[in-house]
Each structure stands twice: as C-alpha cells, then as structure tokens.
Symmetry: C2
Subunit: 102 residues, 2 copies
Amino acid sequence: MNAEDHSFLDERVIEEVSRIFKALADPTRMKILYLLSQEECHVSHIAEMLGMSQSAVSHQLALLRTLRLVKYRREGKTLFYSCDDEHVISLLRQAIDHAQHQ
Amino acid sequence: MNAEDHSFLDERVIEEVSRIFKALADPTRMKILYLLSQEECHVSHIAEMLGMSQSAVSHQLALLRTLRLVKYRREGKTLFYSCDDEHVISLLRQAIDHAQHQ
DNA sequence: TTAATATATGAGCATTTGTTCATATATGTG
DNA sequence: CACATATATGAACAAATGCTCATATATTAA
C-alpha cells in the first residue's frame, strides 16, 4: 500500500482525539467523570469521595471544563458539576466494561 | 448519594483503562495504530509514512507491544507489525468518527 | 567470517503533567 | 461592613513522557 492509497487522518482530528484520550487517561479524571456520570456533584463532595484535596480536584475540573467535558451550575456558594459529553462517557464506559470482563 | 450507594471502580480496572487511554492519547501512537488497523506494516514503512525516525517508531512499537496492542511476525530481516486488540481499535475508530463529524 | 540491512534499546534531555501550598475570588450571613 | 464558606488559580516542583543520538542485536549475503 502506498501513501496515496491510505485514508489519512486530518491533523486537526488527531489533535482533537488526542485531547479526549488524554483527558480519559488520568485515573483522577477517570474517577471524576465516572462519578459525574452517575450523579451531579459539588466540588467538595468529589474531593471527599476520591480522597483528594479540594485544590487537586478543582484543577482537574478546570481542565475538564476547558475540554467541555463537564459543565456546572451554581447554587449559592456551591457549584454542582455534571457531565457535558455523553459520547466521551460512552467511550469511558466501553473501556471499563472491557477491562472488567477480562 | 453516599459513598456506599455508588458503583465504584476497582483500582485494577482504573489502572488498566488508564493504560489503554494513555496509549491512545499520543498522536504518534494513534497514527501507528490507525495505520496498522488498515494494513500490516514493517517498521521502516511506518516511519516513512509518518515522517518519523526509525528509532522513535521502534520505541513506540515497543510500548504498544508491552500493552499487547500490537503483534509482529518476522520475514527475514523485516518485522511486520499488526494490531492485536480489536476492542482498542474500535475505541479509536469511534473517537475519530466523533471528532470528524463535529 | 565480514559486511550490510532492519530493528531494538539505553542514556540523556526538554517538555508536559499532576500535585501541593498559598492565596485570590465569589457568595452568603450577621 | 467583617467574617465564614466554597471554589478557583498561580507558582513551584517532582515524576512521567517522547524524542534524538549512539550503539547493540538479529538476520542475510558474499
């Protein structure tokens, strides 16, 4: 097969997919996304559930926000986060299912 | 929701899924896997197609081998690599499709 | 055996990443 | 207003990552 016969990937697509997989590749972010796929959570609840500092969780949420994988709503002093990309959750679920059944 | 009401993930599963997504998160490895999902390739062919050094490609192939995402067969001096995990290719394809249609 | 070719691998290095610590910002309360 | 609470954010730092360069290994041919 020669180069011209291949279906190549657009560099933009490669970067976009890379960003998504990078987001999913970190255990902390995986846990956060998995948690948020089950219920809307406020920041300190996530921190408590994962046994992590508020700061560490907040930094990771900022990253997930930048990637538009999560969104939030404010209720007084509290911010409630939830998933904002069902497709990414679907990828995560599939990978988890596969890892669990092997 | 309390901690005991959650479906938590086994740490082993989290690490396993993290390894898979880390493998997919790098543009070079994505390109290699995508190429190998289309055809069996020898190392220097991959290097040429991706415009990368033989060494860089070989290092990444070593990593993908460790994760059992690729396999190879020898033919003389040449090693032919191919994909060894259809599920991971499926995850990659889905992510690519999604990135392409948005 | 010597040389050539294909690939693998170790060391080194610059960049990226994920955390902590300290502090800033935003909202609500008295 | 002052203060408490919830969250965000910048700086710093250690660890992980991906490449290059030099060299090792494996196979084949002369």
